[in-house]
């Protein structure tokens, strides 16, 4: 029994850090505009797909692969903002959220035409020999994911709290009019936030593909789980996304180990609902105060 629980926790950390890393992508756009970008899962898929193509087909060095793929997805993120969000930027946030859903369906369709329905994979960054701890195993690639997530969390905390652009983003989210009166170019801030979250999605996609594989439609489930992680931890809070992701992943795996693998998602989401009943703003979220 001990072995199973230990394995469940290790597996939970692996999937949880994946959810957390994806969840972080939601926070950037949210912090700049209060928009939930439902195409975030598709950014992750694109990152993995483009990297797998450049690496497997064109046999390009992994470092270049990472740069190429991240650049392309950043541009796609920016392009979506220019083509779909910018023309209707004065619309209500809920309208913009629905537009991102449209964008996600569009990206998925195009990806299916380009890559077909076959799964793709990338080799693990370092050895593929698992690390064994008391009969339970963890994949070295998981350590890469956890490490990257922590680095990104620290970077984002610094970015939003200390840099001018980060502060400007938060200002725009809080009050567009006031921010623009202060001389912040709102269009540019939105553009940067979409490009930035595209880049982050792409990096996430590249790092997790060696474990999860990637297909044209994997963005749906990644988007959903990443979003849950961000909400559970408190949306907008980078550290929260990490905590939320890990919690969700570990809950899922413990549910599979102790209850039944058939009910694992149900159990995990039930607990997510309970947490949100008690604290609607998420574990680390600060309640949004709306001044009337």
């Amino acid at each position: 029994m001990f072995e199973i629980i230990l394995q469940a926790i290790l597996s939970g950390i692996t999937v949880g850090s994946i959810y957390g890393l994806i969840g972080l992508g939601f926070n950037i756009i949210y912090n700049a505009s209060y928009i939930i970008n439902f195409a975030q899962g598709e950014f992750v898929m694109l990152g993995g797909m483009i990297a797998a193509t450049t690496f497997n087909v064109f046999k390009i060095n992994p470092i270049y692969t990472l740069i190429i793929s991240t650049t392309i997805v950043t541009l796609i993120g920016a392009l979506i903002e220019r083509m779909a969000i910018q023309p209707v930027r004065h619309a209500d946030v809920s309208v913009l959220v629905i537009i991102t859903i449209g964008a996600s369906i569009f990206i998925r369709g195009i990806s299916m035409l380009i890559w077909g329905k076959d799964p793709y994979i990338l080799p693990p960054f370092t050895s593929s020999e698992p690390i064994i701890i008391k009969n339970a195993a963890i994949n070295p690639q998981s350590l890469w994911i956890i490490g990257t997530t922590i680095v990104v969390v620290i970077f984002l905390q610094f970015f939003f709290k200390k840099t001018i652009t980060g502060k400007a983003m938060r200002a725009v989210a809080d009050n567009k009019k006031a921010a623009s009166l202060m001389g912040i170019k709102i269009e540019r801030i939105l553009l940067i936030s979409f490009g930035f979250s595209g880049a982050l999605g792409s990096i996430a996609g590249i790092i997790i593909t060696p474990i999860t594989l990637t297909t044209y439609d994997i963005g749906i489930i990644f988007g959903l789980k990443g979003f849950s992680a961000a909400i559970l931890g408190g949306i907008g809070n980078s550290f929260g996304a990490l905590i939320g992701g890990l919690l969700l992943g570990i809950l899922e795996c413990l549910a599979a180990a102790l209850v039944s693998s058939g009910y694992k998602d149900a159990v995990a989401f039930l607990i997510l609902l309970l947490v949100l009943f008690i604290k609607p703003s998420g574990i680390l979220g600060k309640g949004l105060i709306e001044k009337v």
Partner: protein
């Protein structure tokens, strides 16, 4: 210009009566999942039918009959399967139908088939399609019960009697689990662990570690697509490959899947029709000649590895053509009777088919082989 047109029409008018007088044409319809979720099934099926039709017609057809093959894409969607079927029957006037590619599509099409009384050769494996027997419906794919019986007898022969299963929570996986539960006691197998996962899950180590502590001899994985790769990788990651065998279903008899699994795929077993290892069969095997020819034709023409799915279309096509050859009519009812009565020991890619009024699948467990993935290719084991 006008003169030219008149001339052309005149020539056409002269030609048509001759053409129909000399050549009898039978229209055969196919509705397949060429694109969409099951494109890995429908695509090789379509290619196979086109290749065979072309080949047969270029040889002058069979008994003076030319085949006109009309293929529609139903995208693996039951509604579209029914629409295209109705179009084939009422508008195109086909006399027999090949397809569809997926069980749910077939189930949706059956009422139309029974009403219009057109024989259908389905390329699907779902038990409800041919159990109980439907008068107008035949199937050329191996259903789960035959496949699992093959695995069970393989395990029994090797005294590997502790078995576990991990399956995806969908129609295919759940059917596999149900069949195994029924079949296991007959072969003296003990089912020691049962685990499932969602078809989009990205990690199965938790479920596999629960299986591992039960120490089975063999673990069956009943699923299709990317999760099967993750199961293979996790299986190896937990070191389970050292003490037990992983057996995948016939649904992953696909080189691409194993190439993705890399090292983790080494030594994994699976049951399959004989087409994948055609060259490795003994020369005495009566299926060998046809299998090798189909494999070579397909691979040289389409530059991709042959699959069992294209093989199902191959079998359906030839059964129909044989019936046409013997009856020399395109009457749907007589074709159906002929297929049912005189498809006896038909050497197909899926096995040796013998249809009867009580069996519209016609395959036995012995028609399958167990194969192993080794050094980037299939190896025949039994």
């Amino acid at each position: 210009m006008k003169k030219c047109m008149v001339l052309m029409i005149a020539i056409l008018l002269c030609l048509t009566p001759f053409a129909t007088a000399q050549q009898k044409v039978i229209k055969i319809g196919a509705t397949l999942a060429v694109t969409g979720v099951a494109s890995t099934l429908g695509d090789p099926e379509k290619k196979t039918l086109e290749m065979l039709t072309e080949e047969l017609n270029s040889k002058g057809g069979v008994k003076g009959w030319k085949i006109e093959m009309i293929i529609y894409d139903n995208e693996g969607d039951p509604t579209k399967a029914v629409t295209t079927l109705k179009r084939l029957i009422t508008k195109d006037g086909v006399k027999a139908v090949i397809g569809p590619s997926r069980t749910p599509d077939a189930l949706a099409m059956i009422p139309v088939i029974e009403e219009t009384k057109i024989p259908m050769l389905a390329l699907v494996a779902g038990a409800p399609v041919v159990h109980p027997v439907k008068k107008w419906v035949f199937s050329t794919a191996q259903p789960n019960d035959i496949v699992i019986e093959k695995i069970a007898s393989y395990l029994k022969d090797r005294r590997m009697n502790r078995v576990a299963i991990i399956y995806s929570a969908d129609a295919f996986g759940e059917d596999g689990y149900k069949v195994l539960k029924n079949v296991a006691p007959k072969y003296g197998l003990e089912l020691v662990a049962v685990e499932s996962f969602q078809s989009k899950d990205t990690d199965m180590t938790t479920q596999l570690s629960k299986i591992k502590v039960q120490n089975p001899h063999a673990v069956l994985c009943w699923a299709v697509g990317p999760p099967t790769v993750i199961v293979m990788k996790n299986f190896k990651q937990l070191g389970m490959d050292k003490t037990m065998k992983l057996i995948q279903s016939h649904g992953v008899a696909n080189k691409k899947i194993f190439q993705l699994a890399g090292e983790a795929g080494e030594g994994v077993l699976l049951p399959s029709g004989k087409i994948l290892i055609a060259e490795q069969l003994s020369d005495r095997d009566p299926q060998k000649a046809a299998l090798v020819k189909y494999k070579k034709d397909y691979e040289s023409r389409f530059k991709e590895p042959v699959s069992t799915f294209g093989g199902h279309a191959y079998d359906a096509f030839w059964m129909l053509v044989k019936a046409l050859e013997r009856t020399d009519t395109d009457n749907p009812e007589r074709l159906r009777d002929e297929i049912e009565k005189n498809t006896v020991n038909f050497y197909g890619t899926g096995g040796v088919f013998t249809y009867s009024p009580t069996d519209h699948n016609g395959l036995k467990a012995k028609d399958l082989v167990m194969i192993e993935w080794r050094n980037g290719d299939w190896r025949l084991i039994e």
